[in-house]
């Protein structure tokens, strides 16, 4: 499979995530779009690791396994991020009875 298909697929996923962040006001959906962007990056990293492995397998038998470990660490960070972010959203809902991100404007005053 040509690597370009994977590049364009993950690019499209990433752009969908960006459009979601820009057009939605529900804080939870904005958060889900961030997860979508992280997954697009993960997919791209795995495709690149396999490409690197195909090109360098003769020299190094484990070529490309670092990228897959990077994906693993991205998942670790995403799990930690979700737990803290959802706690913040729950606190926002408890204080304003809404999950509208524009309520966070009040932080200015």
């Amino acid at each position: 499979m040509n690597i370009q298909y994977y590049i364009f697929l993950s690019l499209a996923l990433f752009i969908i995530g960006i459009v979601g962040v820009l057009t939605r006001r529900n804080a939870i959906i904005v958060f889900m779009c961030i997860e979508l962007m992280l997954n697009a990056v993960n997919l791209m990293l795995v495709a690149f690791s396999k490409m690197h492995h195909l090109a360098n397998a003769a020299k190094d038998i484990n070529a490309g396994s670092e990228a897959q470990l990077f994906v693993f660490f991205i998942m670790v960070v995403a799990a930690a991020e979700v737990s803290v972010g959802l706690a913040i959203i729950v606190m926002l809902y408890r204080n304003t009875h809404s999950v509208d991100v524009s309520f966070l404007n009040r932080l200015k005053h």
Binding site: C33, E35, V46, M51, E66, L86, S102
Partner: protein
């Protein structure tokens, strides 16, 4: 066109469709369900690339833990279509235009890159044996640091979510 190519195209179409449904559904619960479908198809992509460990971790961590957490919070807040905050039509149009132009620029920039192949359903770097060896020799310190990160995230979530 072999079976792996056909599978790739089917998975790609389902991934993009469910990702679009995530940002267009009015009901947030449907958004979460479409996002779960999207994560499952991305796991299918990982299996196609012979990265079995990441496919399993993706299902367990994303589709299992994180999405259940999202659904749990949504159910707790009792959000429905009526309480969903909406942006004005012009802001939505501006967001879509901004994303579309970014897509255009990136596609134009990456169109002329070198044509290289990625290997499908062969190669064994994605198996648990090889990844585990690399993880517990070269990447042992980041692995331990990530456990500290988890501990601090847990403490932070409890402190923020606590009712005063």
């Amino acid at each position: 066109m072999g079976i792996t190519q056909i599978l790739f195209w089917i998975l790609a179409v389902v991934t993009l469709f469910s990702a679009i449904m995530v940002i267009t559904s009015k009901n947030p619960v449907y958004s979460v369900l479409w996002l779960i479908i999207s994560f499952f198809t991305i796991s299918g992509h990982y299996i196609l690339l012979n990265a079995q460990f990441l496919a399993v971790v993706n299902i367990i961590v994303y589709a299992g833990a994180i999405m259940v957490l999202f659904l749990f919070v949504l159910m707790l807040m009792n959000l429905t279509k009526d309480t969903e905050p909406q942006k004005s039509k012009w802001l939505k149009l501006a967001g879509a235009l901004a994303g579309g132009s970014l897509l255009l620029v990136l596609v134009a920039a990456l169109r002329g890159t070198e044509q290289q192949m990625t290997e499908l359903n062969t190669g064994n770097i994605g198996l648990i044996q090889n990844l585990g060896k690399v993880l517990f020799t070269d990447y042992l310190v980041p692995f331990e640091i990530s456990s500290i990160l988890f501990l601090s995230a847990m403490v932070g979530a409890v402190v923020i979510g606590k009712r005063e």
